[in-house]
């Protein structure tokens, strides 16, 4: 098992190198000449050349990429063109906000969606099922940022219960987390329902009933435990998506997270910031995916056995 984890961590390295390669080249080949963007309006050719020299822009791109990767090993992702601040530090400042929003949203989504998914599966083809599925259908059909706007109109403009944006204390977290969470909840409900429907028809469910187990035990002990893998997969996917920043919710609620950092930096043509932030997001995503794969092993002995063999 430990060997499996180590192997997975080693395998992450080429993935990160490949991703950073694509992103670095894409950002630096097409982004235009940053020296021109940075130079003051009436700068002379001389001054622009000095800026180029200072940023190391005169080196061939593969040399610059090499230097960039060496810096990355030391936690140095360069300096923002716009704020002149360290990219890594800026990212790390924003990250806790994104993590806070992501985890709260996923938690809300899970608490709503998993019970709802189980409930609809048990009552398949009744009006209860239809009701739950209509809720989920609306959830996946709704643009997330629009839901955010609606929540602002209802809860902060009309009822004046909650702030409409910014980040001050727990109250400002509720609306953005609900916004992000509802979109996730819809997906998780659908996945839970179909996973449970698969499981409900299995023979071992009849075995459990024939033992004299109550319906509750049968559904939760035997059913849910077997349906967990697809449910964990979809929850994990939502989490890793949310960790790269829920760009839209962060924009609607002026939430100072990673997603907005990337979008803002793109609009300001802040190449080092965009490159660094996206690469960091990818690293983060790799880690989350690994953790999810390890959680599988915890719930399913067959997967655990598979890991040990591969280990």
């Amino acid at each position: 098992m430990i060997r499996y984890i180590i192997k997975r961590i080693i395998l992450m390295v080429p993935a990160i190198i490949a991703t950073s390669f694509i992103i670095y080249f894409a950002m630096n080949m097409t982004g235009g000449d940053p020296a021109l963007t940075l130079a003051p309006e009436n700068a002379t050719e001389q001054q622009i050349e000095e800026i180029r020299e200072e940023l190391g822009l005169n080196d061939p791109i593969y040399v610059r990429y090499g230097k960039y990767m060496l810096g990355m090993l030391k936690g140095d992702l360069g300096t923002s063109y716009v704020t002149k601040r360290d990219v890594f530090k800026t990212f790390m400042e924003r990250l806790p906000n994104t993590i806070e929003l992501a985890f709260t949203a996923v938690l809300i989504a899970t608490l709503i969606a998993v019970p709802l998914g189980i409930y609809t599966a048990i009552h398949q083809n009744t009006w209860k099922d239809t009701g739950g599925m209509v809720f989920a259908l609306f959830g996946v059909s709704m643009p997330n940022f629009w839901l955010g706007l609606m929540l602002i109109i209802i809860f902060s403009l009309n009822l004046k219960w909650l702030p409409s944006g910014g980040k001050e204390g727990i109250r400002s977290l509720i609306l953005p987390a609900l916004t992000v969470g509802m979109g996730f909840a819809a997906l998780i409900t659908r996945t839970t329902r179909s996973a449970m429907l698969d499981v409900i028809r299995q023979d071992y469910m009849t075995t459990a009933r024939a033992k004299g187990a109550s319906e509750k035990t049968v559904i939760f002990q035997h059913g849910l435990k077997n349906a967990l893998i697809p449910i964990i997969t979809v929850i994990g996917m939502q989490l890793s998506n949310a960790l790269t920043g829920s760009v839209l919710a962060e924009t609607v609620f002026s939430w100072p997270g990673v997603g907005r950092l990337i979008v803002d930096s793109i609009s300001k043509r802040d190449t080092p910031m965009v490159t660094g932030a996206i690469i960091m997001s990818c690293v983060l995503m790799c880690v989350v995916n690994l953790v999810i794969d390890l959680i599988y092993a915890f719930f399913d002995p067959r997967i655990k056995a598979q890991y040990s063999r591969k280990g």
Binding site: I22, F138, L149, L157, V263, I278
Partner: protein
């Protein structure tokens, strides 16, 4: 051989009929289908009813920010433009971008997936690893980066969105091809000396049709949401076009004094995507009755 083909045709025709029979029994799918057909008709007719320059984008400051009334059913925006007209006219953007991006993604994705699945080995590895990278990054993020690299325009938006569509078609096509590749009738076709591309086109593609049809319907919905999201961020369809996401972005500036500007375009997006999802779910059940059980 000729006789065999005849039989196949009879069978596939009756399968299409069978699917259709099951589809129209599904209330949700029928509602979705009717809504979508209406929307297509509306978006075509709106081009004859309204003049883009005078009715859709012309400023009319005298009537700015009027709440919904008999004269302006959905009210007017901050520049005095009739929101009802803009919503109807805007349907074409969502539909065209959604269908367009999915269509381009379909061609690219199925080609790549068929190649990867059919040849296997190194080709497969390279294609699938690249697809995996794109699949693991949220599509909004990919689209944001691509649009920002290429610049803001409707065409670039289309390119950005077809990327994410392509990845999911690549996966479906590859999986289907890999299961079908080793079936006896494909091997038989090989031994008859049919060229590879003909085998892919004649035997393999028709067999992965049902998951692709379902995915097309559902992806058009996702793509419409993504397109409006990018427009909302200001990097989608450029102003002053009445794209629904862009209208929401304008509406957000007036969320306090004219909240209907925020409500109405969102409902338009939601109903369109809802109709697509209803149709997609219905199609999935109709194409694969086993899945419903």
């Amino acid at each position: 051989m000729a006789k065999l083909n005849d039989n196949n045709e009879v069978k596939s025709r009756s399968m299409a009929q069978e699917t259709w029979r099951r589809l129209i029994k599904n209330k949700g799918a029928v509602i979705g289908l009717i809504f979508l057909l209406t929307l297509v008709v509306v978006s075509i007719l709106s081009g004859f009813i309204y003049d883009y320059d005078t009715d859709i984008i012309a400023l009319n400051m005298g009537e700015a920010l009027q709440a919904p009334s008999a004269a302006h059913w959905f009210g007017t925006d901050s520049l005095g433009r009739d929101i009802f007209a803009r919503i109807l006219y805007g349907a074409r953007y969502s539909l065209m971008i959604g269908v367009g991006a999915v269509a381009i993604g379909l061609v690219i994705g199925v080609t790549l997936g068929a190649i990867a699945g059919f040849y296997g080995g190194a080709v497969d590895q390279i294609i699938m690893r690249v697809v995996d990278v794109f699949y693991s990054i949220p599509n909004i993020m990919i689209a944001v980066v691509i649009v920002s690299l290429l610049g803001t325009s409707t065409v670039n938006l289309l390119i950005a969105l077809c990327f994410t569509c392509a990845t999911s078609f690549t996966r479906i096509a590859r999986a289907s091809v890999m299961t079908i590749r080793d079936q006896e009738y494909v091997e038989a076709a090989y031994e008859l000396g049919l060229p590879t591309w003909k085998i892919i086109l004649k035997h393999i593609i028709p067999n992965c049709l049902s998951p692709i049809i379902v995915q097309v319907t559902l992806l058009i919905g996702t793509t419409i949401i993504a397109a409006s999201s990018l427009s909302f961020l200001g990097i989608g369809v450029p102003s002053p076009a009445p794209e629904w996401g862009a209208m929401l972005s304008e509406g957000r500036q007036h969320i306090r004094d004219a909240s209907y500007m925020c409500v109405i375009p969102g409902i338009a997006i939601m109903l369109t995507v809802l109709a697509l999802n209803l149709l997609g779910d219905g199609l999935r059940d109709a194409l694969d009755p086993k899945m419903k059980k």
